[in-house]
Structures are given as C-alpha cells and as structure tokens.
Symmetry: C2
Subunit: 118 residues, 2 copies
DNA sequence: GCCGTGGTCAACCGTTTGGTTGAAGAAGTT
DNA sequence: AACTTCTTCAACCAAACGGTTGACCACGGC
C-alpha cells in the first residue's frame, strides 16, 4: 500500500489509533504515556505509532531515552482535499439534477432531441 | 470493526475503492460499468461495493436486473467533522505555544519555581 | 561497571482482507 | 420453457493486520 492517501485513511481506520491522535492533539506524549489507558501491551501501541508515523500523521523526536510523539496536523489536508473535492462534485451533480427537474416542461420525454445540449 | 467512522476510513483506504467513489461522484453506474476499467473480476468489484455500502458511502437501487450504484455524499461529513475537530485543536495548540514563546521574557528558565503552576 | 527505565525488534498466532474460480439468483428476451 | 445478462454467494488462498511474548538496545543514575 504505497500511496500516501491510502496510508492516512488506513491509519485512521483503527479506533485506538484515532484515540491516540485525539490525545496527541491536546499534548505531545511518550509511548508509555500513550499506552497507559489501553489494555494492550506497550509493543502494540508502538506498532500503532509506527503506522501513524508511516502515514506522516506523527513524528518522534529524541529526548534522553524518551521518544516524545508529536502530531503532524498538516497531513490532514491531504484527506480534506480529497473528500471536499468529491463531496462538492456530488453536490454539484444534485444541483444540476434539480435544475433539470425544475426546467422539465410537461413533455413526456422519450429520447433527447439531438447531441449534448451545452 | 463496528463503529461507523472506522468503516468509512477503512473503506476509503483502498485506491480502487477511492477511484470508484470518484467515478460515482460524476454519475451513478452499474457494477459491470464500474468493473470495466480495472483488471480484476466483477466479483472483486462487487465486494468493494459491499464494503462501500456497509460504510454508508454508497447505496444500490434495483432497476430490472441492473443494480445502479449511487454515491451517498453526506457520510463524508462524519469524517470531515472528526478531522476538523482535531486539526483545529492541534492548530490552537500551536497558537498557544507561539503565545508562550512570544510572552517569554529573557529569563534562562532552568526549573519551575514550585509545584504545578495553575 | 551495573542496574533500572523507556522503547524497539523479531518471531509467532489467529483473524481479516483482497483476490480468485465456480455455481447460483434474478430479471428480461425469444 | 430456454437462454442470455447482470449480479451475488460460497469456498478457497496468500498476504496483511493487530495482538502477544521474549530478547534486545539506548540511555541516565548510582
């Protein structure tokens, strides 16, 4: 799964990972701190963080033996752009459909007259 | 994976599925039409559509033996809300950090005076 | 140097995923 | 009724996922 968008969506498809992101939005934290509330091992959380890091959602710096995890919020834009694009497109389509319905005269409409009308 | 948000994110974590959504934003389509451009079997695409449907991203109506697939754009809001919430929170955090840095006097800052301030 | 702490790496395990093939439903056509 | 078309269901397979345990590495403190 090479492409960035897939990695981001996939990373956020897990509730634990989303919760980690939610908590990192409040403050940076270490792996142990992040692991505390969940009833899984620290290793499992470490794996989750690797997934988030590969998706570019998170970065780890070094600070003595601690590895504080930091949220990289800018990657959200990637998703937002994708989503907004197609949502807008779909909405536009509904709008056009409404126009068609509104402009519809009382003709029964069997087949279009000719070509594609502008 | 019961929760709706996980289903939506997971559904969009696949490039083929995202492409299907992109094409459905332009116009409704049947399974066969959707499957045509990809070099996988129709069955595989049918499975993809099931995933999208379970996520609420897509609906299928019945029309003779055809099952036109329709994009349900409103589910996007679920994601957008989630994303925006934490992006905003993170940005707010940066803003506050900037304030702290701006308000920082020339003191060297070695250790906090006492306890946890406010 | 040795120990404790914080974190990762490696191997393994059960389940899910994305794909296949083959059979079967469902609805028009003749 | 027989046939074709569009679609899904069922069984299977390899790969990926989320979790575990156990060993290991990188520090700082005695």
């Amino acid at each position: 799964m090479a492409d960035p968008l897939s990695r981001v969506f996939s990373a956020l498809a897990d509730p634990t990972r989303r919760d980690i992101v939610a908590r990192l939005a409040v403050a940076d934290a270490t792996v142990n701190e992040l692991a505390a509330p969940y009833d899984v091992t620290v290793q499992a959380v470490s794996k989750h963080l690797k997934v988030l890091e590969d998706a570019g959602l998170v970065s780890r710096s070094r600070e003595a033996q601690r590895r504080p995890v930091h949220l990289e919020a800018n990657v959200f834009d990637l998703m937002t752009k994708w989503i907004e694009r197609y949502r807008r497109q779909a909405e536009e389509r509904y709008r056009r459909l409404d126009d068609v319905l509104a402009a519809m005269p009382d003709e029964p409409v069997t087949s279009p007259p000719e070509g594609t009308p502008s």
